[in-house]
Symmetry: C2
Subunit: 340 residues, 2 copies
Amino acid sequence: MPPINLCLLGFGNVGRALVRLLAEKRDELRQIYGIEFRITGVASRRLGWLASPDGLDLDSPGDIETLSRLTLSQSGIREWLEAAEAAVMFETTSLNPHSGQPAIDYIRTALESGVHAITANKGPVAYAYRELAGLARQKCRRFLFESAAMDCMPIFSLFRETLPGARLLGFSGIFNATTSVIIEAMESGDSFEEGVRKAQALGIAETDPAHDVDGWDAVLKVCEIACVLMDADCKPGDIERRGIAHLDPAEVRAARAAGRPFKLVARARLSAGGRLLASVRPEQVSSTDPLSQASGGSLMINFELDVLPGLTLIAHNPGLKSTAYGMLADFLNAVRDHMR
Amino acid sequence: MPPINLCLLGFGNVGRALVRLLAEKRDELRQIYGIEFRITGVASRRLGWLASPDGLDLDSPGDIETLSRLTLSQSGIREWLEAAEAAVMFETTSLNPHSGQPAIDYIRTALESGVHAITANKGPVAYAYRELAGLARQKCRRFLFESAAMDCMPIFSLFRETLPGARLLGFSGIFNATTSVIIEAMESGDSFEEGVRKAQALGIAETDPAHDVDGWDAVLKVCEIACVLMDADCKPGDIERRGIAHLDPAEVRAARAAGRPFKLVARARLSAGGRLLASVRPEQVSSTDPLSQASGGSLMINFELDVLPGLTLIAHNPGLKSTAYGMLADFLNAVRDHMR
């Protein structure tokens, strides 16, 4: 089998972690799946548009700077994918939390060009899942995004592959680690601001954690999961949202002392009439509730199915490597499907 | 597509729950997967060998008694599968915890006859996984068993389908609900015997819970998971085992009061030299340990992967319907693979 050409759109922390993981797994993928690959395109704001169908050497960062760039015309990304003879595009550009753009356009172009599109970006899934999934089907390509909601926790492939014929009635979970860390810091006597700095020191919170704190990050994830797994036709703006900034530190400490600590809880459920009831808000959670089981940097989701009262998944302290792995798993699933 | 012929070997609680679930899901399977099916064979010690390639009517139990039986020669089950023109066999006969027989022979015969074999029986997986999986590959049929370890929790398909390229380094978990219920009863002041009766009243413990209490049930599950997911060449007898019968009620109460309650913990890990280190034994678990998160009738497993520090799955109070669903999922996965 000839090597599969991979392109990376976006080359920040996640993109770099993916390149490292691909190198680490190269021999295993050859031995287990018979898959060979090479990276033939990299593009980012800083690097410009790099493409070479014979493969780029990304092992020594110094070399990247010396490679020649494409000067793209209006058609932009399409030209780059063509020059790289891309089979798979990994999209890890910055999130635009209020429209999902321009990542949606990037993914649309990749799929239209016959390239599998794999993203770790919440925007395209939360704002354009139906359109992009439909386009992928039409083009016999895959649009996959396991790292775009719960880091690499396999929730989309779980329903797609391992739970056939099961109906999802609702879900709840802790979808944002930054807010968990801030609340836990407040429980131990820190101010809200000190909690933010703790989460940043742990590498969990962004420089600007506004979208974590105001619940918007979790709302995007609720929207993704509801659209993909419950076929809901919802937009992030439809989801009830309250952040944690208004929480009173004394109240937070008292809640913990009483054994019912605050968590930023995400919920979604289909009403009897088929309407999606969804929210993200601080709630007090008892110690017997599965929601109490995510602490610190962990993410958790609890599914309610017609065939099983509750199935909980928890990812303990996922990191950059986990996010990169979610994209690797998507890549293997996209390619395996074509090999079966 | 012509209907798929299903046969049930064993017709106890799980077999009956499967028949109910198949009836409940009939329209959905037709609409979503284009799958039609009929039950053409049922066999149990009580019922004898029933087969009709045009389908058996199992809706009214009274009718079952009036159907004519096969009188089987030596070749037994093979004749029955042929008379039923079986495509899929669901095996739910009683567990033989010390050899896995005769279920191993049943499954071998089914696969040799070109029939997909789906089991909810721990024995064949714990004692003969390699042989049966190899035979299935050779015959281009499937040997699937999602309900044979953690009720319907999708752990085998999780690795097969959703976690490609991930390496399992070890796992730990609470694999037996009866012992959890007994320990919790002892924590609240009951004797061991009262705990057993509580578990029986909840429908969790068997009439004879000996194999739950002595850890053997959990040992079989450790063996299944290690063989299938870690390619270990182990037998149940190789696994270190201590049950809960020797636990002192006062010690159990004190451990709970100190916030480090006892659980019957299952563990497996590959040593640096590739040897499997596995055990089932009562351990005290702190409240921050993921193992503390399974209580009452719940089952949980915590996977340690090379690409993710910890991934936990918890099934909350799975019941007969859940076990039946695991077999339905196996059926759909077996058939979908052939449809792709």
